[in-house]
Symmetry: C2
Subunit: 335 residues, 2 copies
């Protein structure tokens, strides 16, 4: 027997599941946000499916509690999760939600589409995110129809935090190797990686360089993203400025590869949120491509996952509705 | 009580310990090669110290058996091992040799210096190797005094087998992503990585691309070096030709960074041993730098580790002696 929407409470939830934290909104189909919840990592790839499932259940439970509602009143949960656009592997989350008492429908969405709808209600447009990784998506009629980059640190993520941190490491290695220009990044990288000064020579090259190389290979490559803030901090340095300029250009290049005209560009992620040279170069290159492209910042995918949840529940969200929903979600987050 | 050289048999051994195999020569101080032995991986970093120690002991035992000698007749062992130039961590090998009955002296040398002396007797000169990794060393008075690159896949190894294989993977990813030129490398990479064709779309990009990306991240990055032969095989392809040309230029650039005049250039490793575009570009760029630089091929470090062993035993090896030793070692290897 099918349980129709009205048999439960007519309530829906939007989930923005990220690698650091997971956020849930509890919504009416009239686009009112009744509650908000926040928990730990909801990324099944980095945190594992069990922990990610627990985080999502926890965030939903908090949003329900904030709104004074029970989980059996929920008709629909829309979960924006990285890498779960069309994979079909949804059992890990559905089972965790069923165990918690959820009997409604679960829909997965792209985390990047959620970011997109955090910035705009326009069905056609683009989102770019540069955090640890970097990618661009294109939305058409509210659906994700194209992705550029997002290929991970080994194959792409050009202009990402990893890319910037990797370049900082290379700049330090090249200066110590005698091939690169002196740069303020070298002492900054050595300090950040806790490399101790040493005068001895190892194997025909400076011991400091040997120690730096060993320390870098001791970690996971993606951890080089931790060095990105050093590049932003050293923005008076010519080498650092070169890295930030190239990162801005690479991100604009990825956007250009996705661009087919029409629609705004929602901009997210820690790298693009940083004011200064990188975002200025990026914005200038985007304007060179098409001065009509509007850049709209978005801090996270919370609002957009709420928009996606409403759309999946059959409620359209126009520009005015988007603005009202933004206020309602912000109020729930502030409570 | 010190045991002098003459108390034992006055014999010495040279070891060329590589990641795939370990080779030992048994020598008299008169530069005669009495025996040769070969065993498995002797690289303590990749194979582990215990296995590497066993391989080296095994290769020495075979060389002794071939020469009809016992281990207590050995005065000196010179082991050319990657990454063990000046590290001082020699206990792992010394103990294994002591357990096998060796009571003489153990000296570590650079594997790249051994490659160098496989190609020449000149005390001043250069060696370049490009296999999975890539580096250049400079020898002065028979000692390693400078290294360029050899920084590993994440920080360098430019023009190496990893570098070439990584570029092949990028070329395939970029063609599938719609950003790169069509190339014969794409079907070759997909076949080599056993990616099955599929028509469905995943997450706004081709399922074939998604499958390729997943397969690449499933392996260790350095395994991309396995794709390098595809680039050599596709040498009629423009993208492949571009990769091989750039690799040759990068290797020449590393040599130029080490170059201080004087001396031959010994050339080793599977990438530079491959006839065709890459080595031709490399040789042309080296000639542009200094037409007087003589390129001397070396297949491995066996002869050079024998030269280093003789030098550490106090025997000088001049050009004529080097030629005689080469014949003697070749004869022992052929037995």
């Amino acid at each position: 027997m099918n349980t129709s929407q009205s048999d439960r409470g007519g309530l829906i939830a939007g989930i923005d599941a990220g690698g650091t934290s997971t956020r849930a909104t509890l919504l009416t189909t009239a686009a009112e946000c009744l509650g908000y919840g926040k928990s730990g990592s909801g990324n099944p790839t980095s945190a594992g499916q069990e922990l990610a499932g627990r985080s999502i259940v926890d965030a939903v439970a908090q949003a329900l509690a904030a709104g004074g509602k029970a989980i059996d009143e929920l008709d629909l949960i829309v979960a924006a999760v990285a890498g779960h656009g069309a994979s079909g592997e949804e059992g890990w989350l559905l089972q965790a939600l069923r165990d918690a008492g959820f009997s409604g429908r679960l829909v997965f969405e792209s985390d990047l589409l959620a970011l997109y709808f955090s910035g705009t209600a326009a069905p056609d447009g683009y989102a770019i995110v540069s955090g640890t990784g970097a990618s661009v998506i294109r939305s058409e009629a509210g659906r994700l129809v194209g992705t550029v980059d997002g290929l991970g640190w080994l194959l792409g993520d050009r202009g990402s935090g990893f890319w910037i941190g990797h370049r900082a490491a290379l700049a330090a290695v090249e200066e110590l190797d005698g091939r690169g220009a002196p740069t303020a990044l070298t002492p900054a990288v050595l300090e950040a990686l806790e490399i101790m000064p040493s005068e001895s020579l190892g194997y025909g090259r400076p011991a400091l360089l040997e120690a730096l190389i060993r320390q870098i290979y001791r970690g996971r490559p993606v951890e080089l993203a931790r060095l990105a803030p050093l590049v932003f901090a050293a923005s008076g340095d010519q080498v650092a400025r070169g890295i930030l300029t190239e990162a801005g250009e690479l991100l604009a290049h990825s956007f250009a590869a996705a661009y087919q005209g029409t629609g705004p560009l929602v901009v997210g992620g820690s790298v693009l949120a940083q004011p200064g040279l990188l975002i200025d170069v990026f914005a200038a290159r985007v304007a060179d491509l098409d001065a009509a492209v509007e850049l709209l910042p978005a801090a996270d995918g919370v609002l957009g996952s709420a928009v996606l949840a409403l759309r999946h529940a059959g409620a359209e969200v126009d520009a005015a509705g988007h603005a009202r929903l933004a206020e309602s979600v912000a109020a729930a987050r502030a409570r």
